[in-house]
């Protein structure tokens, strides 16, 4: 595995917070897509002024590649401890690539009710979209080769780190 350092995740996160501050509804709910998006949603809910409910979403049951790859181990519970009906939701993911996870997450949200509005916040947009999905808020745009994935990790002290990994083929 070939791993390469990327810009500091905490600096990109600060950029993202700057772009979101003032734009986010006071009672907007933050919903993070597991696992990187969940860490970011927790931080954003604390950093952005307002009273924000916090939810987590695992899109495994809504993915479009189930018939090709089957169900991956380690699926977590989706937990949305607020009324989705009529809510303003900030969907949070770490790296936006094809847009397929976001599509799955939006579909899943609608099985809980009809939100008033969904916005998308991502730490990194790496291009390569396969669906017409764009972020509302984005920390940084990075380029990476198709066979490289950008991965967000969190260490024991809660520090975030971005790295690249060669995708197994």
């Amino acid at each position: 595995m070939n791993s390469q350092e990327l810009p500091d995740a905490d600096i990109i996160f600060a950029e993202l917070v700057d772009r979101m501050r003032g734009a986010i509804a006071f009672e907007a709910a933050f919903v993070g897509i597991y696992s990187g998006g969940a860490w970011l949603a927790e931080r954003l809910a604390a950093a952005i002024p307002g009273e924000h409910a916090l939810g987590y979403i695992d899109v495994s049951f809504y993915r479009d590649d189930y018939s090709r790859t089957g169900l991956k181990p380690g699926t977590k519970r989706t937990a949305l401890p607020f009324d989705v009906e009529g809510a303003t939701i900030i969907l949070v993911d770490d790296v936006l690539y094809t847009g397929r996870s976001v599509r799955a997450a939006i579909n899943e949200l609608f099985d809980f009710g009809r939100p008033a509005r969904i916005e998308l916040a991502v730490l990194v947009d790496r291009g390569g979209r396969e669906l017409p999905i764009e972020p509302t808020y984005c920390g940084a745009r990075l380029l990476a080769a198709r066979d490289v994935s950008i991965v967000l990790s969190r260490d024991n002290d809660g520090r975030l780190k971005l790295a690249t990994e060669k995708t197994a083929t």
Binding site: F61, Y62, Y66, G70, L71, P73, A79, N107, D111
Partner: protein
Amino acid sequence: MRNPQLNADGELTHLLTLEGLPAPIIRRILDTADPFVSIAEREVKKVPLLRGKAVFNLFFENSTRTRTTFEIAAKRLSADVINLNIGVSSTSKGETLLDTVDNLVAMDADIFVVRHAQSGAPHLIAQHLTSRRATHVHVINAGDGRHAHPTQGLLDLYTIRHYKQELHHLTVAIVGDILHSRVARSLIHGLTTLGVPEVRVVGPKTLLPASVEAMGVRVFHDMRTGIEGCDVIAMLRLQGERMNGALLPSGGEFYKQYGLTTEKLALAKPDAIVMHPGPMNRGVEIESAVADGARSVILPQVTFGIAVRMAVMSIIAGN
């Protein structure tokens, strides 16, 4: 020889029995069941995982509860469910089991949920599908003869794990009619595979299989010593309809010796849970006050059973 439940990559493709099923696969099913439990709390109690797949419930033996929970599980996964009451259709016209299966495969079945009075019938169907190279079709055993009832065993394991978290310090007593019980066999295999240190079976000699000790359990004929200090008591239904000949003096006598009463339950640990696979015979194997009491997890078992069956279907259909 390869485990007939696993595909060439060692992944679960049929669920026939818990005997010989590797612990990581059992744990994976239990882990996967967890997020499915919460789907019942949604506005739309469905996920799209098995959309476009056809699940055929092949029940050669009557069952309302198990068939219903499989049907709910499949529907919550967005599969199409076809219920066949085979006992009163094809076989009565002389069609063989495997001809029935071939016909249903020709109707594009993806999963067969099979219950049969003959031990080994689901296994036979799985082998037949392999010989026909129909590897995209999966079989789940919903109870075969006295042999196995793996999804019941899994839901029992899920329930125990839910209430007790760690399994490696538990004492579990399985009480009653072990001889006729595929539920007991599946639970014993599951518990020993997952490393539960003490599994006890409690019942009269006439209702215990001859070589039950070989399954790695301790045998008790006295209920009071058998459930003493237990963390989990798994009661079994007295299967009157499977009994040929007089294995028991009478229902009343059985209740006196092996019925789970409030007084006997006091011998188990104070936080012991009481399970029962249903349907219950109140006053035959369990006192109403126990069945409805604070330690009873009998109804949660039913709820967890749906999630466990969703997990099994979604894992095998993806492999």
